[in-house]
Symmetry: C2
Subunit: 282 residues, 2 copies
C-alpha cells in the first residue's frame, strides 16, 4: 500500500510486475498534443517529473545519468564529431551535453512534438540553457522523414533519444530507420540509441543490435548505466560504428574537453562498454 | 494509483519521496524473530522477494548484482584471500560468491538472525548451494561481538553484508566496529561494506569513508552498481585497504579464476571504482 498521507504519481509496469511511485506536491502542466499526452508534476524530492502517455520521461534529480551516457560515449567514440543529429530529445538535455563538446560545430535536434520542448523550457530550464547556442538548430518534425532527407555521409554522430518503442517512437526501433541512419553517417560515423533495460529488455536490445548489424555497421556495444526513474533503475544505450571497431575512451582527449559531469568519465565509459547481456561462463 | 487488479507489495521510502512495488502471487512465509520481522513473497516476475521490517532485502531476479559487486571487487583487491569473514549476509548469496574463489580456504558467515538463513534455504535455495562446502562456517551470532573475539591480523577480507543502518545493523555503521575490523585484518587486508545509494545517501557514504580513514585504512573507494530492488536502483559498496592503495583489477587473475558472472568483470570493476560522488568540474 502507498501511504495515504501523500499524493503519489505511479508508473505501473505491469508486463514486468513492478511499479515506481513518487510523492507529488502539485500538477504543473497538462497538454494533449497531436502525438501524445504530456504531464509535468512537482515532486517532493526529485524536482519536476515529466510524464508522456503515463510513462515517466525524466526527473530533475536523476536525468544527468541518462543524458551524459547517451551523449559522451558516442561523441568520444568518434575521432572528431562536428555535425551531430539528435532524433527526439525534446527535453533538450542531450542537446546540452552535445554542445558541451567544443569540437561540435553544429547540432540539430529533430523532435516531433514541439510541446515537449516548450514544457522543458518552462519546467526544466537547466536542460535548455544551451538552446540559444548558435551551433544549435531545433526542428519540430518527423525524425523518420528527416533522416531520409539528409545527404549521404553528412553526419558524424546520430543520437536516438526516443520514448519507448510504442506510439510515436515505434519506427525509430525499426530496421529501415537504422539503414537510413547508416546512409546519413560519414565513415567512422557513430549511431547511439536508448535501448531500455539490460535486465528487462534483452530481446529488444538484441533486436536493435541485429538491425545495426544488418544495416552494415561494423561494431556494436550496449552500455549499461543506472537510471532511477526508469523500470528496474538499470538502463542502456546501444552504440554502433560505421567502419572499424568502437574506440575505447581516450583519457587525454577527455581531460582536454574539460567537461563537468556527475557520472561520466573514461573508466565509467569502459565499464559500460563491458556490460554483459546475461551470464558469462569463463 | 497502483492497478487494483493485482496485489502489490510496496516499499515506500518516504524520506526520499519514492516507492517501489512488485505484483505478488502469494505470501510464502512470515516470521517474527528476536530481532526483526521477516516476510517472503512470491512475485509474478521477480521470483521470490524477502522483506525485513518492511524493507526489501532481495529478489530472486536481481540479487546477482549486489552479491557479485559486494564480493568480487574485494576479493580481487587482496593479493591472495584465504580467510574471509562475512558479517550479516544471512541469505548466503555473498557466501556463495566468496566460495567461487578457489583461493579461499575458509569463509565464516556471522548472521545474527538464524531465521534469515533458514528462510533463504527454503525460498532462495540457489543462493545456499555452497552452504555445505567444507570451507564454509555458518555462525548465528552478533557480528559486533564476533569481530572483537578474533585474533589480531587473522582475516584477509571482511565483507559487511548488512541491512540498512537502522535496527540490528546500526552498530555495523559505527566507528568502533570499523576499528575492530581494522585490527582483525592482516596487512593488505580488505574491508567492504554495503553503503546504500550514491544518489540518495551521500552523507552516509562520506561517514563510512571517514570511519575507515579514522580507523587507519590507507585507501578507500565507493563502487557504484545498479540494484533494481533498492531505492533509486543505484547502489554502492565502500571498500578500504589496510596499507597501500586499492589495487586495480587484474585481467589475468580474473581469467584464471574462471568465475561465472552475470555482471562482474574487470572493466565493470574499474568503472565502479571510478564512481563519482557528485559533480566533477575538470
Amino acid at each position: 500500500m502507498l501511504p495515504k498521507q501523500h499524493t503519489w504519481f505511479t508508473e505501473p509496469y505491469q508486463s514486468e510486475g513492478v511499479a515506481i511511485s513518487w510523492t507529488i506536491e502539485s500538477h504543473l502542466g497538462h497538454e494533449m498534443t497531436d502525438y501524445q499526452t504530456i504531464d509535468v508534476y512537482k515532486t517532493t524530492h526529485w524536482g519536476n517529473l515529466m510524464v508522456i502517455d503515463g510513462y515517466v520521461m525524466l526527473t530533475t534529480r536523476d536525468n544527468f545519468l541518462y543524458h551524459e551516457m547517451l551523449t559522451h560515449p558516442a561523441l568520444f567514440s568518434h575521432p572528431n564529431p562536428k555535425n551531430v543529429l539528435i532524433i527526439g530529445g525534446g527535453d533538450c538535455g542531450t542537446l546540452k551535453e552535445v554542445l558541451a563538446h567544443e569540437s561540435v560545430a553544429q547540432c540539430t535536434q529533430v523532435e516531433i512534438d514541439e510541446k515537449v520542448t516548450r514544457l522543458a523550457e518552462k519546467f526544466f530550464p537547466e536542460l535548455c540553457e544551451r538552446n540559444d547556442d548558435p551551433r544549435a538548430t531545433l526542428l519540430f518534425d518527423d525524425g523518420l522523414a528527416h533522416i531520409k532527407s539528409l545527404p549521404p555521409e553528412s553526419v558524424d554522430v546520430i543520437i536516438i533519444d526516443s520514448t519507448d518503442p510504442i506510439g510515436p517512437a515505434e519506427g525509430l526501433f525499426g530496421p529501415e530507420f537504422v539503414k537510413d541512419c547508416y546512409a546519413a553517417l560519414g565513415p567512422g560515423g557513430i549511431m547511439v540509441q536508448q535501448s531500455e533495460s539490460p535486465l528487462l529488455h534483452l530481446a529488444l536490445i538484441e533486436g536493435i543490435k541485429k538491425n545495426m548489424d544488418d544495416a552494415g555497421f561494423s561494431d556494436t556495444a550496449t552500455l549499461g548505466f543506472p537510471q532511477p526513474c526508469y523500470p528496474s533503475g538499470w538502463w542502456s544505450a546501444t552504440m554502433a560504428v560505421k567502419g572499424g571497431t568502437l574506440a575505447p575512451p581516450n583519457e587525454a582527449r577527455f581531460n582536454k574537453a574539460k567537461l563537468t559531469t556527475r557520472y561520466y568519465n573514461p573508466a565509467i565509459h569502459s565499464g559500460a562498454l563491458a556490460t554483459q547481456l546475461g551470464p558469462v561462463t569463463r
